[in-house]
Protein backbone atom coordinates (compact mmCIF):
# COMPACT_ATOMS: atom_id res chain seq x y z
CA UNK A 1 0.00 0.00 0.00
CA UNK A 2 2.72 2.40 0.94
CA UNK A 3 4.83 2.01 -2.18
CA UNK A 4 2.66 3.74 -4.75
CA UNK A 5 2.23 6.78 -2.52
CA UNK A 6 5.94 6.99 -1.92
CA UNK A 7 6.65 6.61 -5.62
CA UNK A 8 4.14 9.23 -6.60
CA UNK A 9 5.53 11.77 -4.20
CA UNK A 10 9.03 10.96 -5.45
CA UNK A 11 7.95 11.75 -9.00
CA UNK A 12 6.30 14.90 -7.79
CA UNK A 13 9.53 15.95 -6.14
CA UNK A 14 11.51 15.18 -9.28
CA UNK A 15 9.17 17.25 -11.38
CA UNK A 16 9.56 20.13 -8.95
CA UNK A 17 13.32 19.94 -9.02
CA UNK A 18 13.55 19.70 -12.78
CA UNK A 19 14.42 22.95 -14.53
CA UNK A 20 11.35 24.90 -15.47
CA UNK A 21 13.02 26.54 -18.45
CA UNK A 22 14.87 24.35 -20.94
CA UNK A 23 18.10 26.41 -21.04
CA UNK A 24 19.60 25.21 -17.74
CA UNK A 25 22.74 23.08 -17.82
CA UNK A 26 23.47 19.89 -15.91
CA UNK A 27 25.69 21.57 -13.34
CA UNK A 28 23.07 24.16 -12.53
CA UNK A 29 20.46 21.48 -12.03
CA UNK A 30 22.72 19.69 -9.58
CA UNK A 31 23.34 22.93 -7.69
CA UNK A 32 19.62 23.49 -7.30
CA UNK A 33 18.88 19.93 -6.27
CA UNK A 34 16.54 19.18 -3.45
CA UNK A 35 17.94 18.18 -0.03
CA UNK A 36 19.39 14.69 0.16
CA UNK A 37 16.60 13.02 2.00
CA UNK A 38 13.17 13.76 0.67
CA UNK A 39 11.47 10.99 2.52
CA UNK A 40 11.49 12.50 5.99
CA UNK A 41 7.96 13.94 5.86
CA UNK A 42 6.75 10.76 4.29
CA UNK A 43 8.18 8.66 7.10
CA UNK A 44 5.96 10.47 9.55
CA UNK A 45 3.52 8.08 11.06
CA UNK A 46 0.09 8.51 9.62
CA UNK A 47 -3.09 7.89 11.40
CA UNK A 48 -4.84 4.92 9.95
CA UNK A 49 -8.21 5.77 8.54
CA UNK A 50 -10.86 3.21 8.36
CA UNK A 51 -12.06 4.09 4.89
CA UNK A 52 -8.58 4.49 3.41
CA UNK A 53 -9.61 7.70 1.64
CA UNK A 54 -6.58 9.15 -0.12
CA UNK A 55 -8.09 12.58 -0.21
CA UNK A 56 -8.96 12.78 3.49
CA UNK A 57 -8.47 16.28 4.79
CA UNK A 58 -8.16 17.78 1.34
CA UNK A 59 -10.79 20.42 0.96
CA UNK A 60 -11.35 23.30 -1.38
CA UNK A 61 -13.69 24.92 1.08
CA UNK A 62 -11.12 25.17 3.86
CA UNK A 63 -8.26 25.74 1.39
CA UNK A 64 -6.18 22.90 2.76
CA UNK A 65 -4.26 22.49 -0.51
CA UNK A 66 -3.08 19.13 -1.79
CA UNK A 67 -1.55 16.60 0.63
CA UNK A 68 1.77 16.54 -1.14
CA UNK A 69 3.31 19.46 -3.00
CA UNK A 70 2.63 19.25 -6.70
CA UNK A 71 4.91 19.99 -9.62
CA UNK A 72 3.66 23.53 -10.00
CA UNK A 73 3.41 24.35 -6.32
CA UNK A 74 6.48 26.61 -6.51
CA UNK A 75 5.08 28.67 -9.38
CA UNK A 76 3.13 31.67 -8.15
CA UNK A 77 -0.40 31.85 -9.41
CA UNK A 78 -1.18 34.66 -11.84
CA UNK A 79 -3.55 37.30 -10.57
CA UNK A 80 -6.62 38.22 -12.59
CA UNK A 81 -6.57 41.61 -14.23
CA UNK A 82 -8.88 44.30 -12.93
CA UNK A 83 -10.99 44.74 -16.00
CA UNK A 84 -13.78 47.26 -16.13
CA UNK A 85 -14.97 47.79 -19.66
CA UNK A 86 -15.57 51.38 -20.70
CA UNK A 87 -18.27 51.63 -23.28
CA UNK A 88 -19.61 54.54 -25.24
CA UNK A 89 -23.20 55.24 -24.30
CA UNK A 90 -25.57 56.62 -26.88
CA UNK A 91 -26.58 60.25 -26.28
CA UNK A 92 -30.19 59.34 -26.97
CA UNK A 93 -30.34 56.42 -24.56
CA UNK A 94 -33.65 56.49 -22.74
CA UNK A 95 -32.08 55.98 -19.35
CA UNK A 96 -30.45 59.42 -19.55
CA UNK A 97 -33.85 60.78 -18.64
CA UNK A 98 -33.20 59.61 -15.09
CA UNK A 99 -30.44 62.26 -15.00
CA UNK A 100 -30.53 66.05 -15.33
CA UNK A 101 -28.69 65.89 -18.66
CA UNK A 102 -26.94 63.20 -20.71
CA UNK A 103 -23.57 62.53 -19.06
CA UNK A 104 -24.39 64.65 -15.99
CA UNK A 105 -24.89 62.78 -12.75
CA UNK A 106 -26.41 65.42 -10.47
CA UNK A 107 -27.58 68.96 -10.34
CA UNK A 108 -25.85 71.22 -7.85
CA UNK A 109 -28.15 72.48 -5.07
CA UNK A 110 -28.36 75.93 -6.68
CA UNK A 111 -29.38 74.38 -10.00
CA UNK A 112 -31.98 72.26 -8.24
CA UNK A 113 -33.44 75.34 -6.60
CA UNK A 114 -34.06 77.06 -9.92
CA UNK A 115 -37.61 75.97 -10.53
CA UNK A 116 -40.95 77.70 -10.77
CA UNK A 117 -44.04 77.34 -8.66
CA UNK A 118 -46.40 74.40 -9.06
CA UNK A 119 -49.41 74.65 -11.40
CA UNK A 120 -52.58 75.85 -9.72
CA UNK A 121 -56.01 74.32 -10.16
CA UNK A 122 -57.28 77.58 -11.62
CA UNK A 123 -54.80 77.38 -14.48
CA UNK A 124 -55.37 73.71 -15.06
CA UNK A 125 -59.16 74.09 -15.35
CA UNK A 126 -58.66 75.67 -18.76
CA UNK A 127 -56.50 72.84 -20.09
CA UNK A 128 -57.70 69.94 -22.17
CA UNK A 129 -57.42 66.33 -21.11
CA UNK A 130 -54.47 65.81 -23.50
CA UNK A 131 -52.54 68.63 -21.89
CA UNK A 132 -53.28 67.45 -18.36
CA UNK A 133 -52.38 63.87 -19.20
CA UNK A 134 -49.06 64.76 -20.78
CA UNK A 135 -48.26 67.08 -17.87
CA UNK A 136 -48.95 64.21 -15.49
CA UNK A 137 -46.42 62.01 -17.25
CA UNK A 138 -43.86 64.81 -17.29
CA UNK A 139 -44.35 65.04 -13.52
CA UNK A 140 -43.87 61.27 -13.21
CA UNK A 141 -40.56 61.46 -15.04
CA UNK A 142 -39.44 64.40 -12.93
CA UNK A 143 -40.23 62.54 -9.73
CA UNK A 144 -38.26 59.52 -10.95
CA UNK A 145 -35.30 61.75 -11.72
CA UNK A 146 -35.48 63.41 -8.31
CA UNK A 147 -35.70 60.05 -6.52
CA UNK A 148 -32.64 58.86 -8.45
CA UNK A 149 -30.75 62.02 -7.52
CA UNK A 150 -31.62 61.61 -3.84
CA UNK A 151 -30.46 57.99 -3.81
CA UNK A 152 -27.23 58.83 -5.61
CA UNK A 153 -26.50 61.82 -3.36
CA UNK A 154 -26.91 59.62 -0.31
CA UNK A 155 -24.79 56.83 -1.76
CA UNK A 156 -21.91 58.99 -2.98
CA UNK A 157 -21.91 61.23 0.13
CA UNK A 158 -21.23 64.20 -2.09
CA UNK A 159 -22.51 66.73 0.44
CA UNK A 160 -25.63 68.81 0.97
CA UNK A 161 -28.50 69.15 -1.49
CA UNK A 162 -31.11 66.79 -0.10
CA UNK A 163 -33.35 69.59 1.10
CA UNK A 164 -33.46 71.30 -2.31
CA UNK A 165 -34.37 68.04 -4.03
CA UNK A 166 -37.13 67.46 -1.49
CA UNK A 167 -38.60 70.92 -2.06
CA UNK A 168 -38.61 70.40 -5.80
CA UNK A 169 -40.33 67.06 -5.34
CA UNK A 170 -42.98 68.73 -3.20
CA UNK A 171 -43.66 71.27 -5.95
CA UNK A 172 -44.10 68.46 -8.49
CA UNK A 173 -46.40 66.62 -6.12
CA UNK A 174 -48.52 69.75 -5.71
CA UNK A 175 -48.91 69.98 -9.48
CA UNK A 176 -50.02 66.36 -9.64
CA UNK A 177 -52.54 66.94 -6.91
CA UNK A 178 -53.89 69.97 -8.79
CA UNK A 179 -54.29 67.89 -11.95
CA UNK A 180 -56.30 65.29 -10.07
CA UNK A 181 -58.38 68.03 -8.47
CA UNK A 182 -59.18 69.66 -11.81
CA UNK A 183 -60.15 66.35 -13.38
CA UNK A 184 -62.37 65.35 -10.47
CA UNK A 185 -64.08 68.70 -10.57
CA UNK A 186 -64.67 68.30 -14.29
CA UNK A 187 -66.16 64.87 -13.74
CA UNK A 188 -68.58 66.13 -11.11
CA UNK A 189 -69.67 68.95 -13.41
CA UNK A 190 -70.31 66.44 -16.17
CA UNK A 191 -72.35 64.25 -13.81
CA UNK A 192 -74.49 67.20 -12.75
CA UNK A 193 -75.01 68.19 -16.38
CA UNK A 194 -76.12 64.64 -17.16
CA UNK A 195 -78.66 64.74 -14.32
CA UNK A 196 -80.08 68.00 -15.60
CA UNK A 197 -80.26 66.62 -19.13
CA UNK A 198 -82.09 63.50 -17.96
CA UNK A 199 -84.85 65.53 -16.34
CA UNK A 200 -85.11 67.89 -19.30
CA UNK A 201 -87.79 66.80 -21.80
CA UNK A 202 -86.17 68.84 -24.54
CA UNK A 203 -83.02 66.69 -24.54
CA UNK A 204 -83.07 63.21 -25.97
CA UNK A 205 -80.41 61.12 -24.22
CA UNK A 206 -81.68 57.82 -25.58
CA UNK A 207 -80.17 58.43 -28.97
CA UNK A 208 -81.91 57.25 -32.09
CA UNK A 209 -83.05 59.39 -35.03
CA UNK A 210 -83.18 63.16 -35.02
CA UNK A 211 -81.52 65.84 -33.02
CA UNK A 212 -80.52 65.32 -29.37
CA UNK A 213 -81.69 68.81 -28.44
CA UNK A 214 -85.24 69.73 -29.50
CA UNK A 215 -86.29 73.02 -27.96
CA UNK A 216 -90.02 73.55 -27.83
CA UNK A 217 -90.02 77.29 -27.52
CA UNK A 218 -87.96 77.87 -30.59
CA UNK A 219 -89.77 80.61 -32.45
CA UNK A 220 -92.62 81.67 -30.22
CA UNK A 221 -92.07 83.98 -27.24
CA UNK A 222 -88.51 84.63 -28.27
CA UNK A 223 -88.33 87.97 -26.49
CA UNK A 224 -89.73 86.61 -23.25
CA UNK A 225 -87.56 83.56 -23.07
CA UNK A 226 -84.43 85.27 -24.34
CA UNK A 227 -82.79 85.67 -20.95
CA UNK A 228 -82.91 82.12 -19.65
CA UNK A 229 -82.59 80.62 -23.13
CA UNK A 230 -79.21 82.25 -23.53
CA UNK A 231 -78.13 80.93 -20.14
CA UNK A 232 -79.42 77.48 -20.92
CA UNK A 233 -77.64 77.41 -24.23
CA UNK A 234 -74.36 78.40 -22.60
CA UNK A 235 -74.83 75.68 -19.97
CA UNK A 236 -75.56 72.98 -22.49
CA UNK A 237 -72.55 74.08 -24.54
CA UNK A 238 -70.37 73.75 -21.45
CA UNK A 239 -71.79 70.34 -20.70
CA UNK A 240 -71.20 69.12 -24.23
CA UNK A 241 -67.64 70.43 -24.15
CA UNK A 242 -66.91 68.58 -20.91
CA UNK A 243 -68.61 65.51 -22.28
CA UNK A 244 -66.44 65.67 -25.38
CA UNK A 245 -63.28 65.89 -23.31
CA UNK A 246 -64.10 62.87 -21.25
CA UNK A 247 -65.07 60.71 -24.18
CA UNK A 248 -61.89 61.73 -25.95
CA UNK A 249 -59.82 60.55 -23.01
CA UNK A 250 -61.35 57.11 -23.18
CA UNK A 251 -60.61 56.68 -26.85
CA UNK A 252 -57.05 57.95 -26.63
CA UNK A 253 -54.30 55.33 -26.45
CA UNK A 254 -52.44 56.05 -23.22
CA UNK A 255 -49.03 54.88 -22.02
CA UNK A 256 -49.44 51.43 -20.59
CA UNK A 257 -47.90 49.73 -17.66
CA UNK A 258 -48.66 46.02 -17.89
Amino acid sequence: MATPVALRSYYGRLAQVKPLSGGLGVGQTAARAAPFSTTAPLCKRKRSTKDGNKKRGVSTIYRSGPREPLSMSSIPLPKPRQFEPKIKVDEKHGLWEFFPAPGKLLWTPTETEEHGRPWTVEELRKKSWEDLHSLWWVCCKERNRLATSVAELERSKLGFGNRELELRDQAVKKTMKAIRFALTERFYTWEDAMDVARSDPEINLEGGEGEAYNPEAYEEDVDEVKGWAAEDAAKSADASEVDGNITKSESRPAPQAS
Binding site: I87, G94, T110, H133, W136, R143, K157, P253, Q256, A257
Partner: protein
Protein backbone atom coordinates in the same frame (compact mmCIF):
# COMPACT_ATOMS: atom_id res chain seq x y z
CA UNK B 1 -48.49 65.06 -37.00
CA UNK B 2 -44.94 64.86 -35.72
CA UNK B 3 -46.13 62.53 -33.00
CA UNK B 4 -47.71 60.19 -35.49
CA UNK B 5 -44.50 60.06 -37.52
CA UNK B 6 -42.41 59.31 -34.46
CA UNK B 7 -44.83 56.59 -33.37
CA UNK B 8 -44.67 55.03 -36.80
CA UNK B 9 -40.87 55.20 -36.81
CA UNK B 10 -40.69 53.59 -33.40
CA UNK B 11 -40.37 49.87 -33.79
CA UNK B 12 -42.23 47.54 -31.54
CA UNK B 13 -40.20 45.71 -28.90
CA UNK B 14 -39.39 42.04 -29.05
CA UNK B 15 -41.74 41.26 -26.20
CA UNK B 16 -45.50 41.40 -26.03
CA UNK B 17 -46.76 44.66 -24.59
CA UNK B 18 -49.48 44.73 -21.95
CA UNK B 19 -52.97 45.86 -22.90
CA UNK B 20 -54.27 47.30 -19.66
CA UNK B 21 -54.31 51.08 -19.80
CA UNK B 22 -53.12 53.07 -16.81
CA UNK B 23 -53.87 56.76 -16.98
CA UNK B 24 -52.68 58.51 -13.84
CA UNK B 25 -50.26 56.27 -11.95
CA UNK B 26 -48.47 57.45 -8.85
CA UNK B 27 -45.39 55.22 -9.03
CA UNK B 28 -41.86 56.38 -8.37
CA UNK B 29 -39.07 54.38 -9.97
CA UNK B 30 -35.55 54.96 -8.69
CA UNK B 31 -32.58 54.13 -10.86
CA UNK B 32 -29.86 52.73 -8.57
CA UNK B 33 -26.13 52.75 -9.15
CA UNK B 34 -24.60 49.29 -8.79
CA UNK B 35 -20.95 49.29 -9.76
CA UNK B 36 -20.70 45.52 -9.77
CA UNK B 37 -23.24 45.18 -12.56
CA UNK B 38 -22.08 44.94 -16.19
CA UNK B 39 -23.05 47.77 -18.55
CA UNK B 40 -25.93 45.84 -20.07
CA UNK B 41 -27.73 45.65 -16.75
CA UNK B 42 -29.54 48.28 -14.75
CA UNK B 43 -31.02 48.19 -11.27
CA UNK B 44 -34.24 49.89 -10.13
CA UNK B 45 -36.08 50.36 -6.89
CA UNK B 46 -39.76 49.93 -7.71
CA UNK B 47 -43.00 49.98 -5.70
CA UNK B 48 -43.84 46.70 -3.96
CA UNK B 49 -46.89 46.21 -6.15
CA UNK B 50 -44.85 46.22 -9.35
CA UNK B 51 -44.33 43.05 -11.35
CA UNK B 52 -41.54 42.28 -13.80
CA UNK B 53 -43.89 42.88 -16.70
CA UNK B 54 -44.93 46.20 -15.23
CA UNK B 55 -41.37 47.45 -15.13
CA UNK B 56 -40.64 46.14 -18.61
CA UNK B 57 -43.64 47.94 -20.12
CA UNK B 58 -43.09 51.05 -18.01
CA UNK B 59 -39.54 51.43 -19.25
CA UNK B 60 -40.61 50.84 -22.83
CA UNK B 61 -43.58 53.20 -22.83
CA UNK B 62 -42.11 56.02 -20.80
CA UNK B 63 -38.39 55.90 -21.55
CA UNK B 64 -38.23 53.97 -24.81
CA UNK B 65 -35.81 51.49 -23.27
CA UNK B 66 -36.01 47.91 -24.41
CA UNK B 67 -35.48 45.26 -21.77
CA UNK B 68 -34.77 41.59 -22.47
CA UNK B 69 -34.85 40.11 -18.99
CA UNK B 70 -35.89 41.14 -15.51
CA UNK B 71 -34.76 39.75 -12.17
CA UNK B 72 -36.45 40.81 -9.00
CA UNK B 73 -36.20 40.40 -5.27
CA UNK B 74 -37.74 41.89 -2.16
CA UNK B 75 -35.22 43.37 0.22
CA UNK B 76 -36.23 43.16 3.86
CA UNK B 77 -34.89 46.01 5.93
CA UNK B 78 -33.48 45.60 9.44
CA UNK B 79 -35.31 46.71 12.58
CA UNK B 80 -34.69 50.37 13.22
CA UNK B 81 -35.47 52.88 15.92
CA UNK B 82 -37.48 55.99 15.28
CA UNK B 83 -35.17 58.97 15.70
CA UNK B 84 -35.40 60.51 19.13
CA UNK B 85 -37.51 57.71 20.58
CA UNK B 86 -37.07 54.15 21.76
CA UNK B 87 -39.73 52.83 19.42
CA UNK B 88 -38.57 49.95 17.28
CA UNK B 89 -40.19 49.32 13.99
CA UNK B 90 -39.65 47.36 10.81
CA UNK B 91 -39.34 49.62 7.76
CA UNK B 92 -41.29 48.69 4.67
CA UNK B 93 -39.52 46.15 2.47
CA UNK B 94 -38.13 47.33 -0.85
CA UNK B 95 -38.55 45.70 -4.21
CA UNK B 96 -35.40 45.77 -6.29
CA UNK B 97 -35.40 44.79 -9.94
CA UNK B 98 -32.42 44.26 -12.19
CA UNK B 99 -33.08 44.42 -15.91
CA UNK B 100 -31.04 43.33 -18.87
CA UNK B 101 -30.89 46.11 -21.43
CA UNK B 102 -30.94 45.76 -25.19
CA UNK B 103 -28.63 48.81 -25.47
CA UNK B 104 -25.84 49.05 -22.87
CA UNK B 105 -25.73 51.94 -20.45
CA UNK B 106 -23.01 53.17 -18.13
CA UNK B 107 -23.46 55.54 -15.23
CA UNK B 108 -21.72 58.91 -15.45
CA UNK B 109 -18.82 59.49 -13.12
CA UNK B 110 -19.17 61.21 -9.77
CA UNK B 111 -18.04 64.86 -10.00
CA UNK B 112 -14.64 65.44 -8.38
CA UNK B 113 -15.23 69.12 -7.62
CA UNK B 114 -17.52 68.96 -4.60
CA UNK B 115 -17.46 72.66 -3.76
CA UNK B 116 -21.04 73.20 -4.92
CA UNK B 117 -22.31 70.62 -2.43
CA UNK B 118 -20.21 72.07 0.43
CA UNK B 119 -18.62 68.71 1.08
CA UNK B 120 -16.22 69.99 3.76
CA UNK B 121 -18.98 71.30 5.97
CA UNK B 122 -20.98 68.14 5.36
CA UNK B 123 -18.09 65.94 6.48
CA UNK B 124 -17.52 68.04 9.58
CA UNK B 125 -21.17 67.71 10.50
CA UNK B 126 -21.10 63.96 10.00
CA UNK B 127 -18.02 63.71 12.20
CA UNK B 128 -19.70 65.70 14.93
CA UNK B 129 -22.81 63.53 14.73
CA UNK B 130 -20.75 60.41 15.12
CA UNK B 131 -18.88 61.87 18.07
CA UNK B 132 -22.13 62.80 19.80
CA UNK B 133 -23.59 59.37 19.15
CA UNK B 134 -20.54 57.71 20.63
CA UNK B 135 -20.68 59.92 23.72
CA UNK B 136 -24.36 59.16 24.11
CA UNK B 137 -23.88 55.39 23.98
CA UNK B 138 -21.02 55.58 26.45
CA UNK B 139 -23.15 57.64 28.77
CA UNK B 140 -25.88 55.02 28.62
CA UNK B 141 -23.33 52.37 29.54
CA UNK B 142 -22.30 54.53 32.53
CA UNK B 143 -18.82 54.94 31.08
CA UNK B 144 -18.25 58.62 31.68
CA UNK B 145 -15.33 60.12 29.82
CA UNK B 146 -12.51 60.78 32.32
CA UNK B 147 -10.30 63.77 31.73
CA UNK B 148 -7.18 61.78 32.63
CA UNK B 149 -7.95 59.17 29.98
CA UNK B 150 -8.54 61.66 27.21
CA UNK B 151 -5.63 62.48 24.95
CA UNK B 152 -3.88 65.70 26.06
CA UNK B 153 -5.21 68.80 24.39
CA UNK B 154 -2.97 71.44 22.90
CA UNK B 155 -3.68 73.84 25.77
CA UNK B 156 -2.74 71.32 28.44
CA UNK B 157 0.46 70.44 26.62
CA UNK B 158 1.49 74.10 26.48
CA UNK B 159 0.70 74.51 30.15
CA UNK B 160 2.82 71.56 31.23
CA UNK B 161 5.69 72.83 29.10
CA UNK B 162 5.52 76.23 30.82
CA UNK B 163 5.37 74.60 34.25
CA UNK B 164 8.51 72.62 33.52
CA UNK B 165 10.34 75.76 32.39
CA UNK B 166 9.34 77.53 35.60
CA UNK B 167 10.51 74.65 37.73
CA UNK B 168 13.90 74.76 36.10
CA UNK B 169 14.02 78.56 36.53
CA UNK B 170 14.13 79.53 32.85
CA UNK B 171 10.93 81.51 33.17
CA UNK B 172 10.10 83.80 36.08
CA UNK B 173 6.55 84.02 37.13
CA UNK B 174 4.77 87.33 37.45
CA UNK B 175 1.17 88.30 37.31
CA UNK B 176 1.94 91.81 36.01
CA UNK B 177 0.08 93.57 38.81
CA UNK B 178 1.28 97.06 39.78
CA UNK B 179 1.05 97.41 43.54
CA UNK B 180 0.12 100.59 45.34
CA UNK B 181 3.29 102.48 46.51
CA UNK B 182 2.01 102.56 50.10
CA UNK B 183 2.81 98.88 50.35
CA UNK B 184 6.44 99.43 49.45
CA UNK B 185 7.46 100.51 52.96
CA UNK B 186 5.60 97.65 54.56
CA UNK B 187 7.14 95.20 52.14
CA UNK B 188 10.63 96.51 52.88
CA UNK B 189 10.06 96.30 56.62
CA UNK B 190 8.79 92.80 56.29
CA UNK B 191 11.81 91.67 54.31
CA UNK B 192 14.19 93.33 56.75
CA UNK B 193 12.51 91.64 59.70
CA UNK B 194 12.72 88.33 57.97
CA UNK B 195 16.41 88.81 57.26
CA UNK B 196 17.21 89.80 60.85
CA UNK B 197 15.29 86.80 62.15
CA UNK B 198 17.21 84.49 59.92
CA UNK B 199 20.52 86.06 60.97
CA UNK B 200 19.63 85.76 64.63
CA UNK B 201 18.50 82.19 64.16
CA UNK B 202 21.49 81.09 62.15
CA UNK B 203 24.28 81.83 64.61
CA UNK B 204 22.58 79.97 67.47
CA UNK B 205 22.89 76.47 66.07
CA UNK B 206 26.46 77.23 65.07
CA UNK B 207 27.22 78.08 68.67
CA UNK B 208 25.45 75.03 69.99
CA UNK B 209 27.10 72.59 67.66
CA UNK B 210 30.69 72.80 68.91
Amino acid sequence: MAEAVSVAARQLPKFKLGKKQVFLPNHVITFLRKDHLPPNEACFHVPLTFTKFDLRDYLWNLYNVEVTKVRSYVKELPLTQKPGTRMWYRPRAQKIMTVQLAKPFQWPEVPTNTEAWNKEMFDLREEKYEENNKAQTEKQKMQLPMKSRQPLTHERKELSKLAKQMMSGDVKWSNDVVLDPKWDNILEQATQQKQTKEESKDPEPQEKKP
